[in-house]
């Protein structure tokens, strides 16, 4: 029994301080990302999520340059980015696309400069790796309370907005007719998303943060029918991917090629992707015609697809 335990959890796992910080910070960030992410997917805003984390990169790399925790850089810049996107006209779909694209292109240009200075001026050769791909194991014990507080704020905001946010995500028109301040709710939600994305950018990297935001939510949506069930399952999947990722990364110190350990972010993101693929299996089976109760949508879809194929062939 203890043999199996030590095979899964390599010696020293439970007494390691970096592991403890990683588990707490990673777990908390996974919860917030999953909850915020469910609405991101429902509202079709995953591009905005990605843009926010890319813009946060500028802040993260800038903070690194002046010797502040990148977390503060991520949060400051992505929250400011929400305001900027709102000002430039995020409300018109086309304006949104173009303005987001232009703003985040410029931001990434700055990030390139900052990362260059990080490595040349400050001699921090790992800066680019840390900012872009993150590492849960470099989360310092002193930052963990900050992560927990920010995560709680973001989570509290989403829960406070829950019903009007859900209603306006389902249909802005229905929400407006009930006098929900649709635009204000949308901005408040973007702020919660900016904080969530900053946290995941800090822990698993700016480039990978969208995976943790959108992945568990998208997988959960494939398997559940109600908003609460989706939230719970997304949270479970996100936390599971993060914790299992940490264990595997810790184990990987003994793995080839170098004995340095593989990046945690790799494991987390790969697990999220695996969950997403596995969550699609029941849908695939339904589409093949195994009738399930309440699977009428899928059945109709398969009939249409089948008909399409016949016409083509």
């Amino acid at each position: 029994m203890s043999g199996i335990v030590s095979l899964v959890f390599a010696p020293g796992f439970f007494s390691s301080a970096p592991v403890r910080s990683a588990v707490v910070a990673g777990g908390v960030v996974a919860v917030v990302s999953a909850v915020v992410g469910v609405f991101t997917v429902m509202r079709g805003q995953s591009f905005a999520g990605h843009a926010l984390s890319d813009m946060g990169t500028t802040g993260g790399s800038g903070a690194f340059l002046v010797g502040v925790s990148p977390l503060w850089g991520f949060v400051t810049v992505s929250v400011a980015a929400v305001a900027a996107m709102e000002l430039i006209g995020i409300r018109r779909p086309r304006g949104r696309d173009v303005s987001t694209g232009i703003v985040f292109g410029a931001a990434l240009g700055l990030a390139a400069l900052f990362l260059y200075w990080d490595t040349t001026v400050r001699n921090a050769s790992g800066a680019a790796m840390t900012i872009l791909f993150g590492s849960l194991f470099t989360v310092s014990a002193s930052t963990v309370p900050v992560v927990v507080v920010l995560a709680s704020l973001s989570l509290a905001l989403v829960l406070a907005l829950f019903r009007p946010l859900l209603l306006s995500s389902v249909s802005p028109e229905l929400a407006a007719a009930r006098r929900v301040p649709v635009r204000l709710v949308g901005i408040a939600y973007l702020l919660a998303m900016a904080v969530a994305v900053s946290l995941s950018a800090y822990t698993i990297g700016a480039i990978l943060s969208t995976a943790l935001l959108v992945g568990p939510a998208a997988a959960a949506m494939r398997l559940t029918k109600s908003p609460w069930a989706t939230l719970l399952l997304a949270t479970l999947l996100g936390v599971a991917a993060t914790l299992v990722g940490i264990v595997l990364a810790y184990d990987s110190y003994d793995w080839p090629p170098a004995g340095h350990g593989w990046p945690v972010s790799f494991f987390v993101v790969t697990l999220v992707f695996t969950f997403y693929l596995l969550a699609g299996v029941p849908q695939l089976r339904r589409a093949r015609g195994d009738r399930l109760p309440a699977g009428r949508g899928a059945v109709e879809e398969s009939t249409i697809r089948g008909a399409g194929k016949r016409v083509e062939s």
Binding site: L159, F162, V170, E173, R179, T224, K225, G297, A298
Partner: protein, 290 residues
């Protein structure tokens, strides 16, 4: 069915039920253009009123005014005798088809739950009272059997039922429906019309249904508000859908033809103005749609 309608019309002439919605001399201008021009009518408890007009006649604008989303340039709207308050639980609203994705994790019962308290901040803790209200609303529209299906996977008629339950669950006095029959097949259309008629009579709600085509509503409609060119005429079908009244609204001569219990409004022979041509086309299109 027809006999029933006529009986109701006679009854309503004798003693009008209480007015629920009063629209009083409402005018709306959008970018200088008069979209609604001096529109007045009242609708009553337990009655089903059709808001008839071709596309662009101002039906949706009128709904926005009643909901308090568009400020009228002149005139006023009152529901149950009082002006529109900031949150108006007295009005239930079913917009034109809201496109819901099939993968949206939202069951019919979740949507109806949002109808109860979706505008309130925070989240709703599950309670027996809440569940029963939702259940009753769903059963009231015969939607019990697909209560647990994702709304996005339901057919047009089923979705329309769920939307009606959503609008009714907060027990409004006035129910507004924007083109609820558009894109429905004949059978669903008939079912929805019968359902709405039942809702009006059993729950004593004032129901206002907009449509570009009045024929599906004829068997159940107590009164009609006919919109054309931003102006409105209201009363019973017999009072309003007459050549004199409609010609006045359209600003040119129109004929009203009765064919096998259906009513067809066509531009009269004295065509000439471009406006008349447009109106004729709009009506022809409306008739084809129906």
């Amino acid at each position: 069915m027809r006999g029933y309608r006529e009986a109701t019309v006679e009854g309503s002439a004798a003693a009008l039920p209480a007015a629920v919605l009063a629209v009083d001399r409402v005018s709306v201008r959008i970018r200088g253009r008069a979209v609604l021009d001096d529109v007045s009518f009242t609708i009553h408890e337990g009655e089903l009123t059709g808001l008839i007009g071709s596309n662009g006649a101002g039906k949706t604008t009128l709904y926005r005014v009643i909901l308090g989303l568009t400020r009228p340039y002149a005139g006023s709207v009152s529901v149950e005798g009082s002006g529109l308050s900031r949150t108006n639980p007295l009005v239930g609203y079913v917009p034109q088809k809201i496109g819901l994705d099939a993968d949206l994790p939202l069951r019919a019962r979740d949507l109806v739950g949002l109808g109860l308290d979706g505008h309130r901040f925070g989240f709703a803790l599950p309670s027996k009272a809440r569940r029963e209200l939702v259940e009753r609303a769903l059963e009231g529209v015969d939607a019990g059997r697909f209560a647990d299906a994702r709304v996005g996977t339901l057919s047009g008629g089923e979705q329309q039922r769920v939307m009606i339950a959503y609008a009714l669950v907060s027990r409004p006095r006035l129910l507004l429906l924007d083109e609820p029959l558009a894109n429905l097949d004949l059978r669903s259309e008939q079912e929805v019309v019968e359902l709405l008629s039942r809702v009006a009579r059993e729950q004593r709600v004032a129901v206002l249904i907009s449509a570009h085509e009045m024929n599906p509503l004829l068997p159940v409609m107590d009164r009609v508000v006919y919109l054309a060119g931003g102006r409105a005429a209201s009363g019973t079908t017999a009072e309003v859908v007459r050549p004199e009244v409609l010609s006045h609204l359209y600003g040119h001569h129109v004929d009203v033809l009765h064919v096998h219990g259906r009513i067809i409004v066509v531009a009269g022979p004295s065509l000439g103005s471009a406006e008349a041509m447009r109106a004729e086309k709009a009506d022809a299109a409306a008739d084809e749609d129906g």
